[in-house]
Subunit: 226 residues, 2 copies
DNA sequence: ATTACTAAGACACGAGTAT
DNA sequence: TATACTCGTGTCTTAGTAA
């Protein structure tokens, strides 16, 4: 089974709502949707189940199918790429999100990584991060777009007996005013829906931001970064 | 050549920027991207060209390929469906756009169709339309989402020797405050990027809207409409 | 009813090669 | 060098049918 066929299968299931709940469907029905026979539909689904894209439970009247996390990621990747492809070149990618408070850990890490951030980014970051919650849609676009530009990687190191992992940075402009960077720690299973932003200044103060305020992060292509 | 293969081909070309400009590529390269041989890539492209999805010019060093309007629509359709599929069920679809002034024709048409709108929508529209410019991305989502709900169709008629065509209506809530409808005339080649909104009141006055103000149109599923 | 196995057939693929 | 043709090969599909 080829990639396009997998995508097409997942796409068709997604359109029926299988991203959010189990759907009941027979192989014949699915065959109809995909324009293939019942037998082939059966094999396709078995394949998707084997590969972990779809979860299946058999019932008397067909199958219960739901797209798994793996399948969702696969589709989300395609969707993100397509969304980016449709953006006219030169257009800026803007991620909108709302300010939230982190766990307070950010400041500690920023201080530890401070000089390394300066080397990579050209500025000494304020010792605190601005946490920004983004909607899944924005998140998808953000991560896809960011992945397109070669990342600035701040390599890990050891310090006072502790190990600090790699951190990936992407340059952004905050509210079109302050240049900063989104930092993504590789080791932590960071929530995909929260971005941590560092900048030379205290962003909350400089931009007068409060929790739940909306901020715009404009992704700066690496070759344009200062 | 099957639908998924066409999509995959268009998708791969789109990722290389072929939605916005001609790209230079050889069949071998394309084969590499698609995971198929040079020969098969050649056949795939020829097929896409024959079907009008892709425009091709041969050059000494390969081909110049650009996705046609037809191809763009095909991909846009897929993208729209995927975007909708990812929206959690129950979530409202919100279209954001900015107010603009129309050509002034709107008022005339609204008056002519007025009683018919009342029958279909349950309110007598203010004799003027609010024109809203939307970005392509929003447009895609809007049209896809709207197409999902069976449209309210106001049938055409003749009046004073003129023929007035069908008009399709979709219920929306403007700025979460006023219920109205997006109206799309079937006969005119209306710009996909401008929506015309009617409501029981003068929206500009009621909501204090000026040109270039941002408005939110929340699409109301038909079964929920009052 | 379903899903899914088997086997025969269709057709897509790619090596070789023409242009 | 390209693209694209022919054709042998192999894979994927489907009909029939079992479970």
């Amino acid at each position: 089974m080829t990639t396009p066929d997998i995508w097409f299968t997942l796409y068709s299931l997604a359109r029926k709502g299988a991203l959010h709940r189990s759907i009941t469907i027979t192989t014949s029905e699915l065959g109809g949707v995909l324009g293939i026979s019942q037998q082939t539909a059966s094999r396709r689904i078995s394949y998707c189940v084997d590969e972990g894209f779809v979860a299946r439970t058999h019932t008397a009247a067909g199958m219960l199918l739901q797209i798994t996390e793996r399948g969702r990621r696969e589709l989300s990747e395609v969707l993100g790429e397509l969304e980016i492809a449709f953006v006219p070149p030169g257009d800026e990618i803007v991620i909108r999100g709302s300010v939230t408070h982190g766990l307070g850990e950010g400041a500690y890490y920023v201080e530890v990584y401070a000089t390394r951030f300066r080397e990579a980014l050209g500025f000494l970051p304020f010792s605190g991060t601005l946490n920004v919650i983004i909607r899944e849609e924005e998140s998808r676009k953000a991560t896809t777009r960011m992945r397109q530009s070669p990342p600035l990687i701040v390599h890990g190191f050891s310090y006072e007996g502790r190990t600090f992992g790699d951190v990936i940075c992407y340059r952004v402009k905050v509210d079109n005013a302050v240049e900063g960077a989104v930092v993504i720690a590789q080791r932590t299973h960071h929530s995909e829906n929260t971005l941590e932003v560092i900048a030379p200044y205290d962003l909350r103060e400089k931009l007068g931001l409060e929790d739940e305020d909306i901020v715009e992060l404009t992704v700066i292509p690496l070759h344009m970064a200062t």
